[in-house]
Symmetry: C2
Subunit: 198 residues, 2 copies
Amino acid sequence: MATQVVPKLETKAALIKAGLELMLTKGYSNTGIQEVLNVSNVPKGSFYHYFGSKEEFAVAIIHFFDQSYTADLQQILSNRKRSPIERLHDYVEHSKAKLVEEGCSKGCLIGNLSQEMADQSEVLRKELCLVMNKWRDLIAECIEEGQKIKEIDSGTSPHKLAEFFSAAWSGAVMRAKTVKNSESLDTFIELIFNNVLI
Amino acid sequence: MATQVVPKLETKAALIKAGLELMLTKGYSNTGIQEVLNVSNVPKGSFYHYFGSKEEFAVAIIHFFDQSYTADLQQILSNRKRSPIERLHDYVEHSKAKLVEEGCSKGCLIGNLSQEMADQSEVLRKELCLVMNKWRDLIAECIEEGQKIKEIDSGTSPHKLAEFFSAAWSGAVMRAKTVKNSESLDTFIELIFNNVLI
């Protein structure tokens, strides 16, 4: 009987997807390579064929998560049928819906790994920074567009408003994950649009 | 030669202090009991005399951290020589100074453990919730006082403003810890006082 040959890319993707799910729920330290192998049904040798270490594996997971998240974010923030402030609103409502659907668990991989690993791994810290700053800059672009059409208050720079927006949203997600309800997200949405951006 | 007798409370306190330092830097999962014993120079038997498990140990660490943090927070927020908004300002400047002094590392134990453990331990999650909500309520009291003397905008309830304040500050601390500079903290301070509370 012929053994099923799993194409290389599929194996790598299966490892990354299993790793992402485990790291989102359990964090970096609590995620064991053996568990990733069990879930993805991949032999140990294959893991080390693709990834030199657990840290390198986490970098691949961050890149994968970033690609998917950034694609969503860019799609929402470039929707010309909506005004800049409506797009920002769509983004947080979309994120909130996903979080609530998951019972306010998991949260954001970038936030989770930042809290856990920023002082533990310089390699991961730098990757997390890049992603955080990229998302903030996408939000800043949308805010700048809103300021140009006088929809968003121009008293503060788009960069600062986006930094505040991103930090406050991350904190609200963290609180929702801890308290297990969406109060902090609802409060963020109410105040950021009524008191900060307008 | 008589063996030195270490009083019981001192041993327990030494374990908690060593555990706090390690968990602040490395998180819960990465902190091994053996490392706590090595740092505090306490034999293994003593650990299990005081704490039934690592989880129970973490609860004791949360209580210890909370006591110390709450004492600081209450002292700053009840300083009658300063107006309510000046007190809130003092609180974040005090927290920022501590964070910057540590090279923007460690961050807040409650935030760190929330991200790492909210989906892993119901016992820790509930403890973290209690602490988060207590701190938020202390901030809400100060905001209410500010609203009564018309120093803070009354368009939003003290509870909601405090929820937003706390979440946004937690997020700013997380970003500072990741980026390793105080930009997010400075932005929080500028915007929360200029655009949100006033």
